[in-house]
């Protein structure tokens, strides 16, 4: 049995597999498949300062080897999360990451303050949600604004701070550097690539929001490339995600530079995927006489 534990920004995870924000709710439903302690951690559904109802349906469409979604940050608000979900989550013996999104920098700071008072393990700054008009991605696409918001939230945040990056940018490495300079303890990446699908009979976009975020296996090569570029540009750890489907993908993402991983879209076809991936990684490490999964991170040998 290889050592699967990893550490990100001082927080220990039993294994590198974290449920991706927005695909796993607050854990209760998937907790009816397997004990959540099988996961290294859970990144909770993105929360906002006040309750949000999200976008009208349809919120999802299928694409080749991927999906588009535009949930639009439906959530009960940070207070309800702290009161009703966090206590239960903290009993599940897994790392709990709160994913926060806001309309304004003040929103983010207020949430960081509130969450710093709780026993949530980490805070993930979602400045990359493409599916809401304001509230996220407008902060995530320029170095200045990423540096700025990270710095301000950092000042209100007494938890390890993860900044989650959007792939819809020209130069992801500089964005990551801006987050690092702003005080991020870790980077998580990638959020979804903006995409669109149109019903050719009705000529209507299938997603009611017109565009949605592309995730799933289709984006995996883009995610690996970006994780590699960012790992060459920053020295804080990276939580890699975007289309991880098999244990081979997980190993590849770590070799590209990730310290831990988030698993999202594949849950929808196989709810057990993160558990199977953890087993697959363990087998791979054993077969290759690698003692600890941490030995994979960033070991790509570029040409």
């Amino acid at each position: 049995m290889a050592d699967l534990s990893v550490k990100v920004a001082g927080v220990s995870f039993a294994n590198p597999l974290i449920a991706a924000s927005g695909t796993f709710g607050f854990g209760r439903e998937y907790g009816e498949f397997y004990p959540l302690s099988k996961l290294g951690g859970i990144s909770c559904k993105g929360i906002t300062l006040k309750r949000r109802d999200g976008n009208p349906p349809p919120r999802i469409a299928e694409t080749p080897s991927g999906i588009l979604n535009a949930v639009g940050l439906q959530n009960p608000g940070v207070d309800v999360f702290i009161r009703e979900d966090l206590p239960w989550l903290k009993q599940q013996n897994t790392v709990v990451i709160a994913n926060i999104a806001g309309n304004t920098v003040e929103d983010y700071c207020a949430m960081a303050e509130k969450l710093s008072e709780t026993d949530v393990d980490m805070i993930e700054l979602n400045i990359s949600c493409p599916n809401v008009k304001s509230g996220g991605v407008q902060f995530g696409t320029s170095c200045e604004s990423v540096g700025q918001i990270t710095k301000e939230v950092r000042a209100h945040c007494r938890k390890p701070l993860i900044v989650k990056l959007s792939p819809n940018v020209t130069d992801i490495a500089s964005i990551a550097q801006a987050a690092e300079a702003g005080g991020a303890d870790a980077i998580s990446m990638i959020n979804t690539l903006t995409g669109m699908k149109i019903d050719i009979r009705t000529r209507r976009p299938i997603i009611r929001n017109n565009t949605g975020g592309l995730s799933g296996a289709a984006v995996f090569p883009v995610a690996v490339r970006m994780v590699w570029q960012v790992s060459n540009a920053v020295s804080i750890p990276i939580i890699g995600m975007g289309g991880i489907t098999t244990w081979e993908d997980a190993v590849e993402m770590m070799i590209a530079g990730a310290t831990a991983l988030q698993i999202g879209t594949v849950l929808f076809s196989d709810p057990y995927a993160p558990v199977k991936i953890a087993e697959g990684i363990n087998q791979f490490l054993n077969d290759n006489h690698i003692a600890s999964v941490t030995e994979l991170t960033g070991t790509v040998i570029p040409w």
């Binding site: 695909t23 439903e29 999200g54 299928e62 979604n69 296996a217 849950l267 929808f268 076809s269 709810p271």
Partner: protein, 252 residues
């Protein structure tokens, strides 16, 4: 653990009407713990999302899914062969609440008819009113009769059964029934709900929405409902697919 994935052996998968297939899966145990109106989330090899299909029947250890080929996913389903293992997540959602003491009208429209069959099997002598566009799409009529229902068939064009809509028949017969359950296109459900409201009969309706997780985690299958005067978002997969018609905000 409430949920599990099951690999069920395909017993048969035959066309029973134009583009409509009847898939029968061996459940393993004789008593399948499925409530009428619940659904199965079917894995389709090569697809990113499962396909939600209502349970059409679940007696004698056979899980029956009746589905129409719409796009690629259901097309692949229709090509699955006897003996294959089909990966299903079942049962999901909340089905129809039926009470053996009451008299039900069960309304099905088109490919919304299948779940009404297992519902009929749970009721005492229900009135099953099923409507189809035309003759070549008619399904399950003998099954309803065998399940002890009075089966009334209507078609839009009169090519089989009576010409007209399910609501025409419902209106004529609603005095006889205590409660109504319905599944079908949204426009039909709205019309059924209106008739029920008019006559003061409780009405349960089964809704459809595009899904991902199927269990309430991803929040994609939203539907707006009115609870205690407030409009809130619920989810077809977890809170439904069956909702109290009075609470649903159509065109929400």
């Amino acid at each position: 653990m409430k949920y599990d994935i099951r690999q069920l052996r395909l017993l048969s998968n035959e066309a029973i009407a134009k583009g409509i297939y009847d898939m029968r899966l061996a459940y393993g145990e004789n008593e399948i713990p499925v409530q009428c109106g619940q659904f199965a989330h079917v894995y389709v090899p090569g697809k990113s999302l499962r396909r939600p299909i209502s349970v059409c029947d679940a007696r004698d250890g056979v899980l029956r899914l009746v589905y129409q080929v719409k796009g690629e996913g259901t097309k692949i389903m229709s090509q699955m062969k006897q003996g294959e293992q089909v990966d299903v997540l079942v049962p999901l959602g909340n089905g129809f609440c039926v009470d053996k003491e009451k008299k039900y009208a069960l309304i099905g429209g088109g490919i919304g008819v299948p779940p009404m069959l297992y519902t009929a099997a749970q009721c005492k002598e229900p009135l099953a009113i099923t409507g189809f566009r035309s003759r070549e799409l008619v399904i399950l009529q003998e099954d309803f009769a065998q399940a002890g229902a009075e089966a009334v068939l209507v078609t839009d064009d009169g090519s089989a059964g009576k010409k007209g809509f399910v609501t025409d028949v419902l209106r004529e017969r609603i005095a006889e029934v205590d409660e109504v359950c319905a599944c079908g296109p949204t426009s039909m459900l709205e019309a059924v709900a209106r008739v029920c409201a008019e006559f003061g009969k409780p009405c349960q309706i089964s809704l459809e929405e595009r899904m991902a997780c199927g269990i309430g985690a991803c929040l994609v299958c939203a539907v707006k409902v009115r609870k205690n005067g407030e409009e809130i978002m619920q989810h077809v997969c977890k809170n439904g697919p069956v909702f109290n018609a009075e609470e649903v905000v159509f065109h929400g």
